[in-house]
Amino acid sequence: MSIIEVRDVKKTYPLGKVEVHAVKGVSFSIEKGDFISIAGPSGSGKSTILNMIGLIDKPSAGEVLIEDRPTSGLSDKELTRLRHEVLGFIFQSFNLIPVLNVWENIEFPLLLGRTKVSQAEKKEWIDWLIAEVGLGDWKTHKPNELSGGQRQRVAIARALVTKPGIVLADEPTANLDSSTGEQIIELMKKINRELNTTFIFSTHDAKIVDVADHIIRLKDGLIVENRRLNGADSMDQVKE
């Protein structure tokens, strides 16, 4: 069953008097529990596609379906709710809230939702996530007291706290050294296996791409490769 379906999506940005075609019409689907890499060089359109899947940017044409639900006609409020309930985000620059400590940063998305969680249940879940990302001794530290790798671990825990079906990570290792980057990808992979959460991450690092079990490779706004590494390759769409 597809958890995400991207149908002939295009994205055009105005740049002065010129229009930039960032994504020129791509289609693909992502299954529940996938650990998928969107790869490609800078300017290939991977971040744009991730933004559209993450419902923080709208396609100029085409449709993105999340859990079989079309998203193009949704209001700002509905999109916000969907982002909160279904999606988790990991950013290249970590994007932690500087005034909150590790525990509070992870807790933050829970403060935004309508679902009431008991204090005890919340504490247990956050503590489990903190232990899972290996920051048990850093709970009360502020982001500026953490290393890059530690910050990205906090971001991973924050992305998971609402138990989303999909976690989107935009170049999660770009600001980390290679060893730390590998650890982060390993952590994401581990959680993917344990919680069956779908992870979609963009990267231009060939070593990290190989960890994925589904790779979508982009070039100039078009898919040049769409391949599952666990057996049958699929080329849903390849355009020149």
């Binding site: 971040s47 923080i56 940017d57 709710r81 994007n95 609402t162």
Partner: protein, 513 residues
């Protein structure tokens, strides 16, 4: 909400320099409000107390003038000296007031103005024995000091009850006016100033030549000084105030029987007065017209001219006339309903009299505090607008700096309402904290100013201070209104920045470096 407040507090602390700029502005505003209002309230309370205890009582009854509002200082009219009306049916009105259980004490009054003149015993006397105001200085201009020394504001009193209604006056030499006695009780400082001006020492028993002026013209009288007075306690009594027997005042103030007569003219007389061709009054036509009505009769003319009844009527002092009744009430809280009931009663009986409170009696003098308050309020409003603009700019800079953070919040599920509440909390926490600090500081400053007992050096400052000493005070209402005003400033200042924040799209989270 607790989480929003926590984030708001921490953000304010994180951006200390900006918070401090905004906070100092808000604290200053709050402090100025507390001190300023404390000052104005003290002034108003001082003037109110002073007026009620010394001149106006709690309730003031006067006649009604078409020219303007009637106060102790006369009629507030545009471009001229309008006659202060006397109270019609005085005995009826007085009887009605005395019958009220609200009344603790009551007396009647009339006021007038005059200037002291040099007499034959003075150091420099002009040939006429009197001189104009312009004689005072070498360059032809009258100095304020000299004018104030000579100027007298007369209270024509009823000695039978005046001294019991207003017991804040202390006779420092001589005696208080007695019923039927002609004379003047003058402020001891004013007497000293007059002595300086006259170049001879004036004492109780001496006579003072006074030129009274009113709408009816000027009257010169020689009045014996029977006593001097000073005020007890901390009050703002003008030194120019002098107590005088009512009969002398009536003469000087033009309170004659004729002044209150309704004289109706025939049509031809009105037409004659209305002429704008003055030459015709002395031309042949006047005499030509006379024979047509039965011939010119010199005898009849003499008879007419020798009839002085009208002139005498115009000059006969109206011995029963009073301009004002002032009442001290038993219960201050019941003053407003008492005034309303009196006015209702006057209207029902067709008596052209009006009851008012001390403010009505104080007239322009009492409104001076309101003028100060209006000026202060306008200044505060202007300062608030400036503060809103500065605070708004600082908030906008803060929003721009936090674009990535706001974008992140939006991306991970924060709705617009969350962002709105977060910024409102930051603005209100900042405004609340610093306005509280400012109001606290303002309270301390007010208490220090009060403890210093700064003395008013001149009559203007006495009015401003509401007494001899500066005695500002802080009321809970002033404290709270300063807090609320600055909370409002903070809230208004955050509205535009929050609209900027709400325009930040979640995708900006991806662009954070």
């Amino acid at each position: 909400m607790a989480a929003i407040l926590r984030i708001a507090f921490r953000n304010l602390f994180e951006h200390r320099s900006k918070s401090l700029i905004i906070g100092i502005l808000l604290a200053l505003g709050s402090m100025i409000l507390v001190v300023g209002n404390g000052f104005i309230d003290a002034s108003r309370q001082g003037i109110r107390k002073s007026f009620i205890e010394n001149y106006t009582g709690n309730v003031f009854i006067s006649g009604i003038s078409q020219e303007g509002d009637v106060s102790l200082f006369g009629v507030t009219s545009v471009g001229g000296l309008a006659a202060t009306p006397t109270i019609p049916q005085f005995d009826t009105v007085m009887a009605q007031i005395k019958a009220s259980p609200q009344v603790k004490s009551v007396t009647s009054l009339a006021t007038g103005f005059g200037i002291a003149m040099r007499d034959e015993g003075s150091g420099s006397l002009s040939s006429s024995g009197t001189e104009s105001l312009e004689d005072e200085t070498k360059d032809g201009e009258l100095s304020n000091e000299t004018a104030m020394a000579r100027f007298l504001f007369f209270f024509g009193i009823d000695p039978r009850d005046y001294w019991t209604v207003f017991d804040s006056t202390e006779i420092s030499s001589g005696e208080a006016l007695k019923p039927g006695q002609t004379g003047l009780v003058i402020n001891e400082s004013q007497l000293a100033k007059l002595s300086d001006w006259m170049k001879r020492e004036l004492r109780v028993g001496d006579k003072l030549v006074v030129q009274g002026f009113s709408s009816g013209g000027m009257k010169l009288r020689e009045i014996p000084i029977v006593g001097t007075y000073k005020q007890k306690g901390d009050t703002t009594t003008p030194e120019q105030m002098a107590f005088i027997d009512i009969d002398t005042l009536r003469v000087m103030a033009g309170m004659t029987v004729g002044a209150n007569e309704d004289i109706s003219l025939e049509e031809s007389q009105t037409a004659m007065l209305a002429t704008d061709d003055f030459d015709s009054l002395f031309g042949e036509e006047l005499f030509d017209a006379a024979p047509a009505q039965g011939g010119f009769d010199e005898k009849a003319l003499q008879t007419q001219l020798s009839d002085t009844r009208a002139r005498e009527l115009a000059n006969t002092v109206d011995t029963g006339a009073w301009q004002f009744i002032v009442v001290r009430t038993v219960n201050e809280a019941a003053v407003a309903p008492f005034i309303a009931s009196l006015n209702k009663s006057f209207a029902e009986q067709g008596i052209a009299a009006r009851a008012g409170d001390w403010l009505a009696a104080a007239g322009p003098y009492g409104q001076s505090v309101d003028v100060i308050r209006i000026v202060f309020t306008v200044a505060i409003v202007i300062l608030s607008i400036v503060a809103v603009i500065i605070i708004m700019n600082t908030f906008v800079i803060s929003v721009i700096e936090r674009t990535g953070e706001i974008g992140t919040m939006r991306a991970i599920g924060a709705g617009r309402s969350f962002i709105r509440r977060l910024f409102a909390a930051e603005a209100l926490v900042l405004a609340g904290t610093f306005s509280l600090l400012g109001a606290g500081l303002g309270t301390v400053v007010t208490l220090v100013l009060r403890a210093l007992r700064i003395k008013a050096g001149n009559p203007f400052l006495e009015v401003l201070f509401g007494g001899t000493y500066l005695s500002p005070f802080v009321t809970p209402v002033n404290f709270l209104s300063a807090l609320l005003a600055m909370l409002l400033v903070g809230y208004l200042a955050h509205l535009y920045p929050v609209s900027v924040a709400l325009r930040i799209q979640p995708v900006r989270a991806m662009q954070q470096e």
